[in-house]
């Protein structure tokens, strides 16, 4: 029994954190709200260069042929900086089953698992889509896009339509469930990262902001709000790690473990977002301050890839 990441996994995580802290600053995220494709520009290529996009891709395809337990910490880092990219769709969902994703130049999105929208479909080259519980790829040119504006301005949404004749089958029902599970776990990891950063922002602000002659972080109500967020995250992370492990080793209960992780991470992230805003007060409610970009990503991801209720129902079916 050893419930810890390896030194290699941790140093890869540190390297990705360094890269993202340097390159994917809050102003990169803010730019994505108003730029053409809602994405980060060069950060995507830098992640490709580091090998992050191809972790799950087969070695024969130029990938690293590794597993979810090698990737999960890196996805969390993408959450920490609110990376505006189809990182889950491309690197987590599609990498193991669609070729050519390693360099990042042929970006893949997905439209599966009953999701009403695809993310960044307008700037992707290909989409993984689901119909009748089977998976297909469709090239960008063959997709009809109907865009929708999201609350999170960097999330470019569209609904997709396509003709069967333009779709190439790449998997059946088992692959479809596995792809959804990977997506849900990816979302859970992103939510952890987003939440930890919101909590950091809140601790920093509450330690500096003074009211009634003291830092507001010295007041017990603020302390307990943020302690509760920290506790929720403390007891979400092990579920996310375990689900990543189960996917990696092909545990027969992996889907249930993923659902536990996503339910817990969704709830913990919503709680953190609520307390983070409340502890910031009015400044957190202003558009110029960064917090709202993290919050809005959390709102979106907590209900994407199955919300907490859907995942608890999946767990209930398995364990009750």
């Amino acid at each position: 029994m050893d419930f810890a990441f390896s030194e290699d996994q941790l140093s890869f995580r540190d390297a990705v954190r360094d890269l993202l802290t340097r390159e994917c600053t809050a102003s990169v995220v803010r730019d994505a709200w108003s730029n053409a494709d809602g994405r980060s520009g060069q950060v995507w290529d830098l992640l490709a260069e580091m090998g992050v996009l191809g972790i799950l891709a087969p070695e024969v395809d130029g990938g690293l042929g590794m597993t979810m337990i090698d990737l999960v910490l890196l996805i969390e880092e993408c959450g920490r900086v609110a990376l505006p990219e189809p990182i889950i769709e491309h690197a987590v969902v599609c990498a193991p089953i669609i070729g050519g994703v390693v360099s990042g130049s042929r970006t893949v999105t997905s439209f599966i698992g009953g999701s009403p929208f695809a993310l960044y479909a307008d700037s992707c080259e290909v989409a993984l889509v689901e119909r009748d519980r089977r998976l297909f790829t469709v090239e960008r040119a063959a997709l009809r896009l109907t865009p929708e504006t999201a609350v999170d301005g960097s999330r470019r949404l569209s609904t997709l339509e396509w003709s069967d004749s333009d779709a190439t089958e790449v998997g059946g029902p088992l692959e479809a469930v596995a792809a959804f599970d990977r997506g849900a776990l990816g979302a859970a990891a992103l939510l952890l990262g987003l939440s930890h950063r919101m909590l950091e922002m809140s601790v920093e602000y509450a330690s500096e902001r003074r009211q009634f002659g003291a830092p507001i972080g010295s007041f017990q109500a603020i302390k307990h709000h943020l302690a509760n967020a920290r506790i929720a995250l403390e007891f979400a992370r092990p579920l996310v790690t375990r689900a990543a492990y189960s996917l990696s080793v092909g545990d027969p209960d992996a889907s249930t473990h993923v659902s536990m992780a996503k339910a817990q991470a969704s709830d913990a992230a919503m709680l953190t977002s609520e307390h983070a805003l409340q502890c910031h007060g009015a400044i957190g409610y202003s558009y110029e301050y960064d917090l709202h970009m993290w919050m809005k990503r959390v709102w979106a991801l907590s209900s994407s890839w199955g919300d907490a209720g859907l995942h608890r129902a999946r767990v209930a079916k398995a364990v009750l």
Binding site: S115, P116, F117, E148, T149, A150, V151, D152, G153, R155, L157, R210, Q211, F212, I216, F219, A221, I222, E274, L277, Q278, G281, A282, G284, Y285, S286, Y287, E288, H292, W299, A300, S303, S304, D307, G309
Partner: protein, 380 residues
């Protein structure tokens, strides 16, 4: 105990309902917290005023109908039930006006109230400052006496001023006695925003609308006529009405009843009837909405009999603000992944609801008030 409205109150309800049915725009206006939307909303306020529906509970001479609090409750119910536009005049008519009625001179009432009612003059609130948010008594904006000119020269900065970039006037607290501490030595001033020396910079809120403003004062002059209440007694003016009116007039039950009705309709359309988990939560939100309405009827009964609301208003503020968050959160849960589409009333309403536990005194501060002033727990 009598839980039915009187025949004359029901007649009033019918009149209001009929007028709204005829007049409420069928297409949603742009947000009143944007410049274009604000102007459209002021047009709407003018129509309300012309129908004598802008300020029903005010005396006739100032544009009202001398309506009772019960009729005001009815008006609000009908207004929100009809899906009528946001009241961009609310900080004037609901927050400032009660103070003017209580503390204003007859001249001030004559000067300010009719134009407030008609929307010709629009008021924003100048409480918060960069270093005075929850801690309102930390206000540091100054007003220095100009004896010769018969007035006050203002300097300092207000912030988080809702619709400050579009309003014509601001009411706020300024420190007139520099030697006094905390809530002493403050004066309640009424400030035209076109006064030389006043600069307003709008900035964005969570939902992207430019609904906030910073207001800078550099030697801006206001005359003595623009002091509300006594000099150095502004805290009392601000608090006296806040306590009794805030809980009641800022957020009438009709607003939440209308939201709850929409939530129930959303549930009927999109909810999974087999999902008793979500059904239970929606039902509880409805029960809470009814609890809020009924609690208000109790408060109005007390006020109608000459009683006062007291610190219990803090419970009201906590309850409606958290109820509003819950109502919208449930809508988001019913909508599921579709909730992130920006162009829905729910997405906008959810973002607005999140401000409730923060503004008008954070709920943490309100809970302190409940503990200390309602329950009598020791301050220190």
């Amino acid at each position: 105990m009598e839980l039915a409205f009187s025949p004359s109150e029901e007649i009033f309800r019918q009149e209001v309902r009929a007028w709204l049915l005829e007049n409420v725009p069928s297409n949603a206006m742009p947000s009143g917290d944007t410049r274009e939307g604000f102007e459209a909303h002021i047009d709407w306020e003018r129509r309300l005023f012309d129908a004598r529906l802008a300020v029903v509970s005010w005396p006739k001479e100032f544009g009202g109908r001398d309506a009772s609090l019960w009729e005001w409750i009815i008006f609000e119910e009908e207004y929100y039930r009809a899906g009528a536009p946001q009241r961009v005049t609310q900080n004037g008519i609901f927050l400032l006006a009660p103070s003017i009625f209580q503390f204003g001179t007859p001249e001030q009432q004559e000067r300010f109230l009719p134009k407030m009612a008609s929307g010709e003059e629009t008021w924003c609130q100048g409480w918060s400052e960069p270093d005075a948010g929850s801690d309102l008594a930390a206000v540091s904006s100054r007003a220095v006496r100009d004896e010769a000119a018969g007035g006050w020269r203002l300097s300092g900065q207000k912030t988080w001023t809702t619709r400050g970039a579009f309003c014509t006037h601001l009411f706020g607290l300024f420190r007139t006695d520099p030697d006094a501490q905390r809530h002493h030595g403050l004066t309640y001033l009424l400030v035209p925003l076109d006064t030389p020396g006043v600069t307003v910079r709008g900035f964005g809120r969570l939902d992207g609308d430019e609904g906030f403003a910073e207001v800078f004062f550099e030697d801006a002059f206001v005359s003595d006529d623009f002091v509300l209440g006594e000099v150095n007694s502004g805290w009392g003016v601000a608090m006296a009405t806040a306590g009794s009116e805030r809980g009641l007039t800022l957020r009438s039950p009709g607003r939440f009843t209308a939201t709850a009705d929409r939530l129930l309709a959303l549930w009927r359309e999109h909810g999974d009837p087999k999902d008793t988990q979500l059904r239970d939560a929606v039902t509880q939100a409805w029960i809470d909405t009814e609890a809020y309405r009924l609690q208000t009827l109790g408060v109005v009964t007390t006020l109608s009999k000459g009683g006062h609301a007291g610190p219990e208003a803090s419970m009201v503020k906590i309850f409606w603000s958290e109820l509003d968050v819950r109502l919208h959160e449930l809508a988001m849960r019913i909508l599921g992944p579709r909730a992130e589409v920006a162009e829905t009333a729910w997405a906008k309403g959810w973002q607005f609801a999140l401000s409730g536990p923060i503004y008008a005194g954070t709920n943490e501060i309100q809970r302190n008030v409940v503990a200390e002033r309602v329950l009598g727990l020791p301050r220190k």
